[in-house]
């Protein structure tokens, strides 16, 4: 161990690459990420341009390069249970700068899709689903805004599902097809009672 000679034992251990030999590497995870993201994470050579471009990186422990590695090595549990997975603002700066022409943001999105299949999801995402199920809008109208709309010569409700609620049924059918509302209700109830 000449390379780490004189280092404290803890650092010496840290410097050793143990990840490759972990039992929880799941090759299916790599394939699933590729299928959902439609981008080639395995082309990543870990240059770190993505993390360097990331607005979330300087203010958290979120490192998109790490998630890229997890995608390639099939480290499913490590990726999906990391709360940092939800700190990507999807700004796509990493995608525009990636020298390997990968879209790392879409790798994150695919991992979030896979996390949701295991009920791993922040509740605010589900509340947007519930709002859309009942009104068609993620950010619905309110009385203050209705009055303001009227004052500036607009209809009190916009000509969307708000003015034509008969269209909401179609939206509910789409969401029910994927059982999204039922799952959202169940998970929100489990978390918030």
């Amino acid at each position: 161990m000449a390379r780490t000679k004189g280092y404290p034992a803890a650092l010496d251990k840290k410097l050793q690459d143990t990840k490759l030999y972990l039992d929880d590497s799941n090759p299916e995870f790599t394939k699933n990420v590729k299928a959902i993201s439609r981008t080639n994470a395995h082309m990543c050579y870990q240059c770190g341009t993505c993390t360097g471009s990331c607005p979330s990186a300087p203010r958290s422990s979120y490192r998109i390069r790490l998630f890229m590695r997890r995608a390639v090595l099939g480290l499913e549990n490590e990726a999906l249970t990391d709360p940092d997975l939800w700190l990507c603002t999807t700004c796509y700066s990493c995608a525009d700068r990636c020298p390997r022409d990968i879209i790392p943001t879409d790798v994150i999105m695919s991992m979030r899709n896979l996390a949701f299949k295991r009920d791993i999801i922040p509740v605010n995402f589900l509340k947007t689903v519930q709002a859309i199920y009942s009104s068609g809008h993620g950010v619905p109208n309110n009385d203050v805004n209705r009055a303001a709309r009227e004052k500036i010569g607009l209809s009190r409700d916009p000509p969307t599902t708000h003015m034509f609620p008969e269209y909401i049924k179609g939206i509910q059918k789409i969401l029910d097809h994927y059982k999204l509302k039922a799952n959202a209700d169940r998970i929100v109830k489990e978390r918030e009672g």
Binding site: I36, P55, S56, R59, S60, W86, L87, C88, T89, T90, C91, Y92, S93, A95, D96, I103, M109, S110, R112, N113, F116, I121, P122, N124, F125, L126, K127, T128, V129, I132, G136, H137, G138, V139, P140, N141, V144, N145, A148, R149, K151, I152, G153, L154, P158, P159, T160, T161, H162, F164, I168, K169, G170, I171, K173, I174, L175, H177, Y178, L180
Partner: protein, 307 residues
């Protein structure tokens, strides 16, 4: 061309935050575009795009199907879509693009749409109004300049481009190549200058507002910290106002400044206006017509400079 005879017609896709939080964006877009020969026709029964951060994260298949429903509504009107929000652009434009080019996705979506007697055909295109304003094929900077009756002279305005109109640029298709520069674009500055105002450059202009991807709902302090960094840079450059082309970014910077005051104890009092609102002002609409009193941060200091 007479003022009433519109040269171009689009189905106007509203989204959520513009009509339900900043209705001035809706009315200004309709009126200002009409003066420029573009008629925006209501897209009856449209819903949330759906929110690309929330829905894209949960299940991309639902995201595709929900966006496709909005696209089909416009297909039935035989009209291209125009919209005012970068987030909506990501959902509506990108899903349209993906469905047109991927048969497997299109078949999957149509299987679901069949349940509500709809079919996605891929017959229309999707445009952001900022794109229509900049592109000579539709309007162009010169015509925007000619339509100004109340030039915003003396106002120093910083531009926030937002992310999802132009990024990821390898997937976008603009008629004007200039719009694909996502490192240091200046086309919005050209539009701001056309209104008589002075565009202001600032550090790290292309940084995200921090709200997207569900982060604003998941970790508000984290999201605000990103917006705060931009606000510091914009204030340093001496801007009188910030303009955006995305109501969600606008919410993050406008209402966000109040939250930043509460959480971080700093205030900027920087007015934040959608470009449609600026255009409305420059074409002679009053602040009352634009509902500017609904903004979290008072636009008074800025209005005193330009009115």
């Amino acid at each position: 061309m007479s003022e009433s005879g519109a040269k171009h017609k689009f189905a106007f896709y509203l989204g959520c935050i513009a009509p339900n939080r900043y209705p001035g964006v809706e009315s200004a877009s309709i009126k200002a575009m009409k003066k420029l020969g573009v008629e925006l026709v209501p897209l009856k029964g449209a819903s949330c795009c759906p929110a690309p951060g929330a829905f894209g994260s949960i299940d991309l298949n639902v995201f595709y199907a929900m966006a496709a429903r909005n696209l089909v509504l416009a297909e039935q009107m035989k009209m291209d879509i125009a919209l005012v929000c970068n987030g909506c652009y990501k959902s509506i434009w990108e899903v349209n693009h993906k469905l047109k080019h991927n048969k497997d996705l299109r078949d999957g979506v149509n299987e679901v749409l069949k349940e509500i007697d709809m079919e996605y055909k891929g017959t229309i295109n999707v445009y952001h109004t900022a794109e229509l304003l900049y592109n000579d094929k539709f309007i162009g900077v010169a015509k925007v300049r000619d339509s100004v009756t109340n030039p915003l002279t003396g106002a120093r305005i910083a531009v926030h481009y937002g992310c999802h109109l132009t990024k990821p640029h390898k997937d976008r298709e603009f008629e004007k190549e200039i719009m694909l520069n996502t490192e240091h674009p200046v086309w919005m500055e050209e539009l701001v200058a056309a209104l008589g105002a002075t565009p202001v450059e600032y550090r790290n202009k292309m940084q995200c507002c921090g709200a997207g991807g569900g982060v604003r709902g998941y970790d508000i302090v984290h999201a605000l910290d990103i917006a705060n960094e931009k606000l510091i840079n914009i204030k340093e450059a001496g801007a009188d106002a910030l303009t955006d082309i995305c109501p969600f970014c606008q919410l993050q910077f406008d209402r966000g400044q109040i939250e930043i005051q509460e959480k971080f104890g700093v205030s900027y009092n920087l007015p934040v206006l959608h470009f449609a609102e600026l255009l409305g002002l420059a074409q002679g609409m009053s602040p009352q017509d634009l509902g500017l009193d609904l903004h979290g941060i008072s636009c008074e200091s800025f209005l005193q400079k330009v009115l």
